[in-house]
Amino acid sequence: MMQGPLALIAEVTHRCPLHCVYCSNPLELRRQQDELTTEMWARVFQQVTAMGALQLHLTGGEPLVRKDIVQLVAAGRAAGLYVNLITSGVGMTEQRLDELAHAGVEHIQISLQDSRAEEADWIAGTRAHTSKLSLAAMIRARKIALTLNIVVHRANLDRIEEMIALAEEIGTDRLEIAHVQYYGWALANREQLLPTRLQVERSLAAVESVRKRLKGRMQIDCVTPDYYARFPKACMGGWGRKVMLIDPAGQALPCHAAGVIPELSFENVNDHPLRWVWEESEAFQMFRGEAWMPEPCRSCDRRALDFGGCRCQALLLAGDAAKTDPVCELSPDHAAVLSPIEHAQETFPAPGAGPTTGEDFPQLVPLSPIAPGWQYRTNPSRN
């Protein structure tokens, strides 16, 4: 029998009070009226547990905009899953957090845009930094695990020590330093976000020294960002191997970005059993295993380690999802990564970096584009 997914990523809504310039949601967002019902999500959680899944990641958009978020947490626990909530904290109160804790949420993940409020809010396109900090304090006062995720890019990477110091002050057990990944909204803003090699090397050295000092107190995850690595990442642990993502409308995807691959059609959990979608549907079969691989992957010893890298990146940078991830130094399309890296070097410091005074703070209406040169994430249309 085929191994089922170990984790389910449930994008329960695409609505969000934040407008982060590197949002991982697709450019085409799902509308509220198309969102799955509480009952349907509960059925999905039961089905994925029956397939052997252990973990549920409730995310969005901002999952707290769902009025039934407490029921969704409870449904995840009732199905037997470990429940992680990924939130900005906007819309959280002490009482709501108590309800979520009572329903069984075990881990909350907050992503910070910066160590400094003004810069963070500029990247998020709204004032959210202080609500994130107050949520972190609320979590620390309860028996819920907290992970901070700090998203880094050329405009904040040089402040990495300051960001780690903030995490230390908050007292988190886990810190993930995550480089922006260039899909969707982030790809549209890549010129402003891509760091230089020198920035990356300095930051990795800084993390290494702090990691030693904090060993046993804070676990720090930080990897060389995609574009600067010699070989590609094992995206999602391999296509259709470990993770299944369900979007707000019930479409099942092998990853956040797979919707960009034009030759794939994705099935909906309203129409098919989850097991069939995972085991049989074309979208999950397409890049599973090694049969689809081109050279240099096909004969490469690393194919069992990185699975050829990321299919979406191959599409976005090389025009074909079935090619080797251009991040790989062995890829014939590697220039598609080298040229933005060179450009990043030539244009440093950041072009169109955020303003340093409050008066240039982006206005949220109209939502996009707000500042010249930047594409802010929008919200789903209402009709």
Partner: protein, 93 residues
């Protein structure tokens, strides 16, 4: 080697949970991770109750897994606890 103190009392950290009835066998669920447990691993985590000291846990394991060589069992257990502490799966009280 590990610098764990023998009189420390390990307990599961917030957000870490033993699931002994998971379909694929006993597993330690934790943020972003899950650890499949063999019988000694499961037993060690059951003993991390915040009441027993590491010395007491070692003693209990010695009686329950008598086939294992004592020094090896101790070394493996301490290495396992150290790994759990580094990944923030246990707190020491």
């Amino acid at each position: 080697m590990t610098d764990l103190l023998r009189d420390a009392r390990p307990t599961l950290a917030a957000g870490c949970r033993l699931d002994e009835t998971a379909a694929g066998g006993p597993v330690l669920l934790m943020p972003e991770r899950a650890l499949r447990l063999n019988p000694p691993g499961l037993r060690i985590l059951q003993l991390c109750d915040g009441k027993r000291t590491i010395s007491e846990i070692l003693l209990t394991l010695c009686t329950e897994f008598p086939v294992a060589e004592g020094a090896k069992l101790e070394e493996d257990t301490l290495a396992f606890l150290e790994r759990l502490r580094t990944t923030r799966a246990i707190d020491l009280e």
